[in-house]
């Protein structure tokens, strides 16, 4: 009984606190930002210090698994959101978020600094960064094998290449899904499965996720594939995180079959502080924050006024014509495409 007497007031106080924070406008002490693990991984005390200095608001970061799990959690908690702002939904999952109306429209005051092509027409979400999913190849391997680096997806069907190609599974990996979409764009709805059929015949390798592809199968890390689906920004990362200083990236990017993934942020419907949440979005899109994006998350800033760091520019390739699909197109077809892909590749 004694315990109940001490616990009850605490419980009541907690309940009151929970209810009290209901609908009050004004400035909160803390804003919650929910995001995927790979963004959360690189957040430290300095990340939001400028924002806190300006507004007096602390930012609490909540990690919620990968991009898919993040969006699903936001949809499942729409009526009582876990946070005020969500960052990290990419275009392959955007339709799921928009279809379930989890965002409250907000137009950032920096939106004019973003290319029109990256923006959402209805301002439901704000683009923060983009990156290209592309084939990477091992330069040393190609030199030793005296082979030309293929510059076309069609070339890869050849026995010289296909057995040395590793891709990620579109149902378990976000770059895997992005690359699958790229092949649909390149070959068209009629012919894309033929390409995959040929690749399967010739011995292409499929793995569940990016780290398996890169660290197990890539010849650079002792694997047997000289071409793997990765990012256009992987070569600069190889230079920055190399054991010995390097002048040139040991890996290169094949510009054919690239897919542009855009990552967005949005104010979550149901936040008690829509105004402050909007300010946080403005901060994410500010030049100051955007300039830290390349070397922290290895993606490109959406704000074109942000300067790119030299070491990033030196080793990065921005593909000229990457694929993109509209959120609606992906939403309508994602499941069917994946199932067709599975039928061919696992059948």
């Amino acid at each position: 009984m004694r315990h109940i007497r001490t616990l009850l007031p605490i419980a009541v106080a907690l309940l009151l606190a929970a209810c009290g924070s209901g609908d009050q406008e004004g400035t909160p002490e803390t804003l919650k930002l929910i995001t995927h693990d790979s963004f959360a991984a690189s957040v430290d005390d300095a990340t939001f210090s400028a924002f806190t200095a300006d507004t007096g608001i602390e930012v609490e970061v909540i990690a919620a698994g990968d991009a898919g799990a993040l969006v699903n959690q936001a949809v499942l908690t729409r009526d009582n959101p876990l946070a005020d702002v969500l960052f990290g939904v990419d275009d392959t999952f955007l339709s799921r978020a928009l279809g379930n109306e989890i965002f409250r429209p907000y137009e950032s005051r920096h939106i004019e600094m973003v290319d029109e092509a990256l923006r959402d027409a209805d301002s439901r979400v704000t683009p923060i960064d983009f990156g290209d999913v592309c084939f990477n190849y091992d330069k040393n391997w190609f030199e030793d094998a005296r082979l030309e680096v293929p510059d076309d997806l069609d070339d890869l069907r050849a026995d010289d290449y296909a057995p040395y190609v590793t891709v990620e599974h579109p149902a378990t990996s976000s770059p895997g899904l992005a690359f699958m979409l790229a092949t649909i764009d390149v070959f068209g709805e009629d012919a894309w499965l033929d390409w995959w059929r040929d690749m399967k015949e010739a011995g292409v390798h499929v793995v569940p996720d990016w780290d398996t592809a890169y660290y197990n199968d890539f010849t650079r890390y002792g694997g047997a594939s000289s071409i793997v689906v990765s990012y256009a920004s992987s070569p600069p990362a190889e230079v920055i995180f190399s054991e010995e200083p390097l002048d040139e990236a040991p890996t290169g990017v094949i510009e054919a079959g690239c897919y542009r993934q855009i990552e967005y942020a949005g104010v979550l419907e149901g936040t008690a502080y829509p105004e402050s949440a909007g300010e946080l979005i403005d901060f994410l899109l500010s030049v100051e924050f955007q300039e830290t994006v390349p070397l922290t998350w290895f993606v490109f800033p959406a704000n074109r006024e942000a300067d790119l760091p030299q070491e990033f520019v030196d080793h990065t390739i921005i593909p000229e014509n990457p694929t993109r699909f509209s959120a609606n197109e992906i939403d309508e077809n994602r499941e069917r495409w994946i199932n067709e892909w599975i039928a061919v590749m696992e059948g």
Binding site: A18, A41, Y215, E238, S242, E243, F298
Partner: protein, 516 residues
């Protein structure tokens, strides 16, 4: 009598509330949400379900049998013999159990073991040998040696003694270990994805694909229910079996280890060195890779992308301590409840406690975020991490405690009661001393489970606090030699901490025993 019943109920309340609020309630909420939109008769669903379900079942059965075969020699060696390095061997064998699947997967792949059912089974054995060795040897080492001596005097051969006396007495522990290994492999996820190529999928893999990538909650919920039914059925048979075979006999409170003599010396040496050597093959890959640059010093430096890796060690130790305390308190109370009464109620209680081990991580993770905002919003608080770990660890405490508790002869308790001891006093003076040893094994498991746990916590929304496994994952998700090397070094650190903790707990056990 009335007083005892009330006592039983109040002891039962703690584990019942814990499991009810942190497991059953979120599970029911998320499944209800999924099933509310169920469209029955999706095309091809039945055929696919059958295929995936069948594979899930048979690979789990085969993995369990293989794990026992591999673990048997070492279990024998450490159960009846005292030898130099025995405790170290027990600690080392626990290491594979906590390594993140992605790290072990990497090691297996680099050895060329992949894209085959053989690789999956080998990895399952690698992970679970510790469960068998530790669970079974705890009971084995305490069988009264007089039984053995008497049988020998009466003319039985060593083999006959083993088959007719030791093995029947060990049945509860064997069943306990088998149930845990079965559940672990039945819900295998990372290993099947990484080592199975495209050909193999367990229900767990399928639930992940449906729930996370395709967001087909009705289908995911259906699959989760199929998985739960399978797990429950297996557990039901197990608990019937355990009740039937539990025998009461006087366990020694200390262990009965003797120095091996004659040919047994070679046997013990071969079993210990052989098993450790096999387990060391994948581990040596990690160690070699972690040494191919100056990656260990880098763990101490602040990295602009992932922070200071070594800080994750502290976080992990804190979470693991909290999870261990939670799991031990809940688990011991639950064990007392389960053994305090026989019959349906306690059987179902036992079964429910085991379920989290056989429930998919995605289901629990999504269940947490739809359910735990009432009465206090616990979602996205730091508490959820040790709670999720404890949920998975409680079954270990229960499974190691219950067989020992069951073996306490009823007459001893009754005699104490007759002599005027209160139920609490009977528990403290009779059960607790006998059980503390087994419970410590469970507590050690709880600690290392928390150290290595990644699955469930990767699906719950949580504050941005890195544990050792999340740090390894962070390092492995960016390109570059140092990222990879540091991830390997971090894995070795995890292995060393695990071995150290287990060694320390095993030592503490001896101290404790000396006290009574």
């Amino acid at each position: 009598m009335r007083r005892i019943r009330w006592g039983w109920a109040s002891v039962a309340a703690v584990p019942a509330l814990f499991i009810g609020y942190f497991f059953a309630y979120p599970l029911v909420r998320i499944l209800a949400l999924g099933l509310s939109e169920l469209s029955i008769g999706a095309s091809g669903l039945e055929a696919r379900l059958l295929r995936v379900g069948w594979f899930t079942l048979w690979q789990a059965v085969v993995s369990t049998i293989l794990t026992f075969l591999v673990a048997a020699p070492l279990t024998w060696a450490v159960s009846s013999h005292e030898f130099r390095g025995r405790r170290l061997a027990m600690a080392l064998v626990t290491v594979p159990f906590v390594l993140p699947t992605v790290v072990v997967g990497t090691a297996f792949v680099s050895l060329g073991w992949r894209d085959s059912i053989g690789a999956i089974l080998a990895a399952h054995v690698f992970f679970n040998v510790a469960v068998v060795v530790r669970t079974v040897s705890t009971l084995w080492s305490r069988i009264d040696p007089r039984l053995h001596e008497a049988a020998r005097v009466l003319g039985a051969s060593e083999w006959q003694v083993f088959r007719r006396i030791t093995l029947p007495l060990l049945r509860p522990a064997i069943a306990a270990a088998a149930s845990i290994v079965f559940l672990f492999t039945f819900t295998s996820f990372g290993i099947v994805l990484i080592l199975g190529g495209l050909r193999y999928a367990t229900l767990e893999v399928e639930i992940f694909r449906q729930a996370v990538n395709l967001f087909d909650l009705p289908l995911a919920a259906t699959l989760a229910i199929v998985q739960l039914v399978g797990v429950s059925a297996a557990l039901y048979f197990y608990s019937r079996y355990q009740e039937r075979t539990a025998s009461e006999w006087t366990l020694e409170s200390g262990s009965n280890l003797s120095r091996p003599k004659g040919i047994a010396r070679f046997g013990v040496a071969a079993a210990t060195i052989g098993t450790l050597a096999v387990l060391a093959i994948p581990l040596s890959v990690l160690i070699r890779r972690s040494m191919s640059g100056s990656f260990y010093p880098s763990l101490l430096e602040t990295d602009r992308v992932v922070g200071t890796p070594v800080s994750a060690v502290w976080n992990s130790l804190v979470f693991a301590s909290v999870a261990m305390v939670l799991a031990t308190v809940v688990g011991v109370m639950a064990s007392a409840v389960i053994t305090g009464r026989s019959g349906q109620l306690s059987r179902w209680f036992d079964l429910t406690l085991m379920l989290p081990l056989g429930t998919s991580a995605v289901t629990i993770g999504f269940g947490f975020i739809v359910a735990l905002d009432w009465p206090v919003d616990l979602r996205a608080t730091i508490w959820l991490i040790p709670i999720a770990h404890a949920l998975v660890a409680v079954p270990f405490v229960v499974r190691t405690t219950v067989p020992t508790l069951r073996s306490v002869p009823r007459e001893v308790r009754e005699a104490a009661s007759v002599l005027g001891a209160s139920p609490l006093r009977v528990w403290r003076e009779i059960d607790l001393p006998i059980v503390s040893r087994a419970t410590l094994v469970g507590a050690a498991f709880a600690f290392v489970i928390s150290l290595g746990e990644f699955g469930a916590t990767s699906f719950i929304a949580r504050p941005n606090t890195a544990t050792i496994p999340t740090m390894i994952f962070r390092l492995l998700s960016r390109p570059g030699e140092t990222s990879f090397g540091m991830a390997m070094a971090m894995s070795v650190v995890l292995a060393v901490i695990t071995a150290g903790v287990v060694l320390a707990i095993d030592r503490a056990r001896v101290g404790e025993l000396g006290a009574f």
